[in-house]
C-alpha cells in the first residue's frame, strides 16, 4: 500500500507555514471555518457547587451551611451576587468580570442521572456518557463522548492534530478520538535529536505510512504530524494579549497553552485541560484565612480569567466548558468539607454564551426536594454538552455521542 504521502505532508507543511506566520498570532487565515474550538475542563473530584456558586437567596442554604455557608452579598466574605439568587464565591471574583462582560454562563443542579457517588464509577459513566448502564448492556463503550463527537464531524483540517489533552495520559472523555494526543507540554514536542539529516530520513520514512493498519502506527503518524505542527508554534515567545497574566499553576499553564493553540488556528477542535483537587471531605488551612478549597478555586478562576482576557480577539470561536462528576452534599462535613453528592455546577465561557441568569431549574434546598442530602440533578449534563456541540462545534446530529439518549438542545446556554 504505497500511497504517495505528499497529500498529508503537503497540507501539513501548509499548516506549519500558517503556524509560523502565526508567530505574531494576528491576521491568520482561518482553517477552522465557523466551528469553535472546545476547551473541556473536567473538575475531577466533585466540586462543591454550593460553595463555588452559593444560592444565597435560597432560604434553606444557611440552614444546611450554618458555619461554612458563604455569607450573603454585602457581608464580609460574602458572595458576589449574580442574579439575586446565586452569587460567586469571593475567591472566584475574577470570574465576575467575565460574567459582567456577558461571556460566562452558569448552570446549577446539573449532573448525571446515575446516582453513583463513587468517583471512579461516576467519572467513568460521565466520560463515556453511559449513565445507569446495566451490566452487559450493548450500549457499553470504551470511548468517550468527546472522542465520538470528533469521529462524527468532518475534520476542520485534513491533516494534523484534531484534539489534544494537556495531560499525561489521554482522558477517557477523548478515548476513541481520531488524531488526538495527550501532551501535557506541547511546547516540548519537536522532532528529537541530532543529526538533523538522520531525523529527516527517519521522519520521511515513518511518514510514508506503509502499514497504518496497526493502531501503534496510527498513533505514531499522528505524533509525527503533531511534532511538525507544534514545533512551529511560538510557545516560548508567546505574549498574551490585553495584559492577561496566567497564574503560575498547572491549570494556568494549561490555559495559556490552550490560548496559543486556539490562536494558531491549526485545526485543533478539542482541548481538554482537567483540574483536580476538589474532593475535600474536610478543609485544611492553606494559609491565613484560606483553605485548600480556596487554592483550587483560585487556580480555576485566575486561569479562566486570563484565558478570557487574552483571547478577546478570538472569543467568537472558542467555548470553554467546566464541570465535575458530581456536586457535594448540602450538609457540612468536618471543618467545612463535604461528602459526595449529586447535582453540581456547569460553567460555560465564550463569546457566544447566554448570560445574565443561572441556567437550569433550581429545585431548592428544602429537605423534601433533596436527593439523599444532595442537590438533585435537574439538568442533565448531556443536554448542556450536546447544545454546545450542536450550536458551536458543528455537530447537529450527534448520533453516537450519547448512547441511548436524545438530548434536549433547548436550554439556550449558547447561541
Amino acid at each position: 500500500m504505497h500511497l504517495p504521502t505528499p497529500t498529508r505532508r503537503d497540507v501539513l507543511a501548509g499548516g506549519a507555514g500558517i503556524a509560523a506566520t502565526a508567530a505574531g498570532l494576528s491576521a491568520v487565515p482561518r482553517i477552522g471555518g465557523s466551528r469553535d474550538m472546545l476547551v473541556y475542563v473536567f473538575l475531577r473530584g466533585g466540586a462543591d457547587a454550593l460553595a463555588l456558586v452559593p444560592p444565597h437567596g435560597d432560604p434553606d442554604y444557611y440552614h444546611w451551611r450554618p458555619n461554612y455557608g458563604i455569607p450573603q452579598p454585602g457581608q464580609p466574605g460574602g458572595a458576589l451576587d449574580l442574579d439575586g439568587t446565586f452569587g460567586l464565591h469571593p475567591t472566584l471574583a475574577p470570574l465576575l468580570d467575565v460574567w459582567n462582560a456577558g461571556n460566562l454562563a452558569v448552570v446549577q443542579a446539573m449532573g448525571s442521572p446515575d446516582p453513583e457517588r463513587s468517583h471512579f464509577q461516576q467519572m467513568l459513566a460521565t466520560e463515556t456518557a453511559t449513565p445507569n448502564l446495566p451490566a452487559g448492556s450493548p450500549l457499553a463503550t470504551d470511548t468517550g463522548w468527546l472522542g465520538r463527537h470528533l469521529n462524527e464531524v468532518a475534520p476542520v483540517n485534513p491533516v494534523g492534530l484534531r484534539g489534544i489533552a494537556l495531560e499525561d495520559r489521554l482522558p477517557r472523555t477523548l478515548a476513541g478520538a481520531p488524531r488526538t494526543l495527550p501532551l501535557r507540554e506541547p511546547e516540548l514536542v519537536h522532532v528529537p535529536g541530532v543529526p538533523d539529516t538522520a531525523n529527516d530520513r527517519l521522519m520521511t520514512h515513518l511518514n510514508a505510512a506503509h502499514h497504518s493498519a496497526f493502531p501503534i502506527q496510527t498513533a505514531l503518524e499522528t505524533t509525527i504530524d503533531a511534532a511538525e505542527q507544534l514545533s512551529a508554534l511560538p510557545f516560548a515567545s508567546y505574549v498574551p494579549e490585553n495584559g492577561a497574566e496566567y497564574p503560575d499553576s498547572d491549570f494556568g499553564a494549561a490555559m495559556r497553552r490552550a490560548a496559543i493553540l486556539l490562536k494558531a488556528d491549526i485545526g485543533i477542535e478539542a482541548v481538554q485541560a482537567d483540574l483536580g483537587g476538589w474532593d475535600l471531605h474536610s478543609l485544611s488551612p492553606a494559609g491565613p484565612a484560606i483553605t485548600d478549597l480556596d487554592l483550587v478555586m483560585e487556580q480555576l478562576a485566575k486561569g479562566l480569567h486570563a484565558f478570557w482576557k487574552d483571547c478577546q480577539s478570538v472569543l467568537n470561536r472558542v467555548t470553554v466548558v467546566c464541570m465535575s462528576e458530581f456536586g457535594r452534599r448540602v450538609d457540612e462535613g468536618a471543618i467545612g468539607g463535604t461528602d459526595h453528592g449529586r447535582g453540581g455546577l456547569g460553567l460555560v465561557l465564550g463569546g457566544n454564551v447566554n448570560t445574565g441568569q443561572v441556567h437550569g431549574a433550581w429545585p431548592g434546598l428544602a429537605p423534601g426536594t433533596l436527593d439523599e442530602l444532595a442537590v438533585p440533578v435537574v439538568t442533565d449534563y448531556r443536554d448542556v454538552l450536546a447544545e454546545v456541540l450542536a450550536k458551536r462545534c458543528g455537530n447537529p446530529v450527534q448520533g453516537t455521542v450519547w448512547p441511548g439518549y436524545t438530548p434536549d438542545l433547548s436550554l439556550g446556554i449558547v447561541n
Binding site: 468517583h119 471512579f120 451490566a135 470504551d142 499525561d168 495520559r169 489521554l170 478515548a175 488526538t180 494526543l181 495527550p182 501532551l183 514536542v189 528529537p192 535529536g193 541530532v194 543529526p195 538522520a198 531525523n199 530520513r201 527517519l202 520514512h205 515513518l206 506503509h210 502499514h211 496497526f214 493502531p215 501503534i216 502506527q217 498513533a219 505514531l220 499522528t222 505524533t223 509525527i224 503533531a226 511534532a227
Partner: protein
Amino acid sequence: MAIRPRPASPAAQPRPSRRSLFSFASPPNGQSVAQGPLAPRGGATAFDVEAALVQRTSFGVNAELLAEVRNRGFQGYLDWQLDPDNIDDSYLDARLALLPSIHMTGAEIAAAYPNALQYVPSEELRTARALRATLSRRQLFERMVEFWTDHFNVPIIVQKRYLHYLRTLYDRDVIRAHALGSFRDMLHAVARSAGMLKYLDGYRNTAGQVNENFSRELLELMTLGAEGPYDEDDIKELSRAFTGWQHVPINEPAYGDFYFDPALHEPGAKSVLGLNLPSGGEDEASAVLDHLAVHPVVAERISRKLGSWLLGYEPTPSAVAAAKATFLSTGGDIRSVLRTLLSKGRLLSTARMEDRKLKRPLHFGASLLRAAGARFTSLDGVRESFETLGQVSFDWRPPNGYPDAPAAWIWLQYPRLKFATELAQSQLPWADLAESDLLSITAAHPRTEWGEAVLSHLSAGLVRPQEAADLQAYVDSHPGLSDTELTRELLVLAALAPSFQEY
C-alpha cells in the same frame, strides 16, 4: 549491563564506589552478547516458545536470558526464574548500594532525610525501580513486583505525610517480600503496612470515627471485585473490625511498624461476609483477611488478572480455571499459580501476533536498554529519563494501579520516539551504547538482511515479516550511509515497530 554475563564472583569484590562503577564503564568480562538471538533448540522454525517464555516473563529479552533459556530449556528456565533467591544479582545489587535509603528502616530514613532532603528517598526508590527493571536477572520476580505494585497500589502523595518515607518500606517489606510467596501473607502484610494505613486512611479509622476507605477498596479492588458478593453493610462492619490498626508514628524508633491499639478498637461483635466475629481485637479483621485470601471469587479474580498480566489481555477460560484450581489447592501460593499459568502449552497459545500486549512505558524503556545492550554510566538522570516515558513509578493516585490496557498508553509515542532516538544517537547522558556492540547487531549479516536482523535482535525473532520488510526498505533506500549510521537509525525504527512495542 544487563546483556552481559556477570563477573565470576562479584560478591567477593570490595564494595565499589560510584566512581569505580560508572566512570570507567568497562564491561565485565565475558563474550560479547550483543548479537542476534541464539537459535532455538533443535533449529525449530516454528514459534519459538523459549523466546516467548523469556519475553512474557521479563522486562524484555536480552542475549543473556536467551542464552539461559537455550541452556536450561523451557522448564529449567522457569524453575530458575521462580527461585530468585538463588539467582545471583550482585551486579545490580552493587548499583543499588548507591541508593542508601532503599535499605534503611523507617526511623533511619526519617533521620537521614529531613527537610530539604525529604524527597530523596522517593527519588532513590524510583531510580531503583528503573535499575531493577533493566538490570535485574530476576526478571520474572521483577515483573511480579510490578504486578503487585499496581494491584496493591500505594502512591507517593507528599501531602499524606510521610508517604514519601513509608513507600520505601512498603516496596521492600510488603511487595518485594511477598511477590512470589503466599497471597494470604501478602494480604496481611498490606493491611498492616504503614503505607496502606496512611494512603487509605486506616490510621484514621478509630472507634466512633469509622473510616471506610480501606475496607471498601480491599473488597472492591484487592479481593472480591466490584461485582463481588458483598454489600455496604459488609464494608461498614469490616471497617469497624479494622479499627485500632495503627502504625508507629514518626520520631519513634519503630517508625512504620504495625501495632494494634485496643483503645481505638470498636467494641462489640461484627458480622462480615457471613462471618460472625465475636468481640475481640486484631483477630477480628485478621479472620476476614484469612477468609478473603482463599475465597473462590478472589482466587478466580487474581488468577484472571495474573493470566492477563503474563499471557495476554484475554487469558483463556481454561488457563484461568487451571490457575484458580492451583490457587485454591495451594492456599494461594503465587509461585504455584505462576507455574500453572506458564506451561509450555499456554505459552504456545500466545503465538498470534494479534493477541500481543502493548508494553507500558517502564517496560518499553527497560526493554529497549536491555535489547540494545546499553550500559549505565551514571545514575544521574536515569529516573528523569524514564519518567519522560509517561509512567512515573508510585505516582498513580487512585487505588486501582496503573492500567494495563493499550488505550491508556498507545498515544504516548512521542516519548518513545525521543527516548529511542536519544539512546540510538548516544545522547542519553547516563547510558552508553558502545559502537562495537551496536555494530555487532548487524555485522554478521549482509545489508540485504539488516532490516530483519535489527528487528529480530530487539524482539528475539518474534516479529512480523512486513515490519522487517519496512526496515529493509529503509536500508535499501539509503545505500550511502555508513554501517554505524545505518545501524543507529534502524535501531530507532525497530524500537518504534509494533513488533517491539508489543510483547
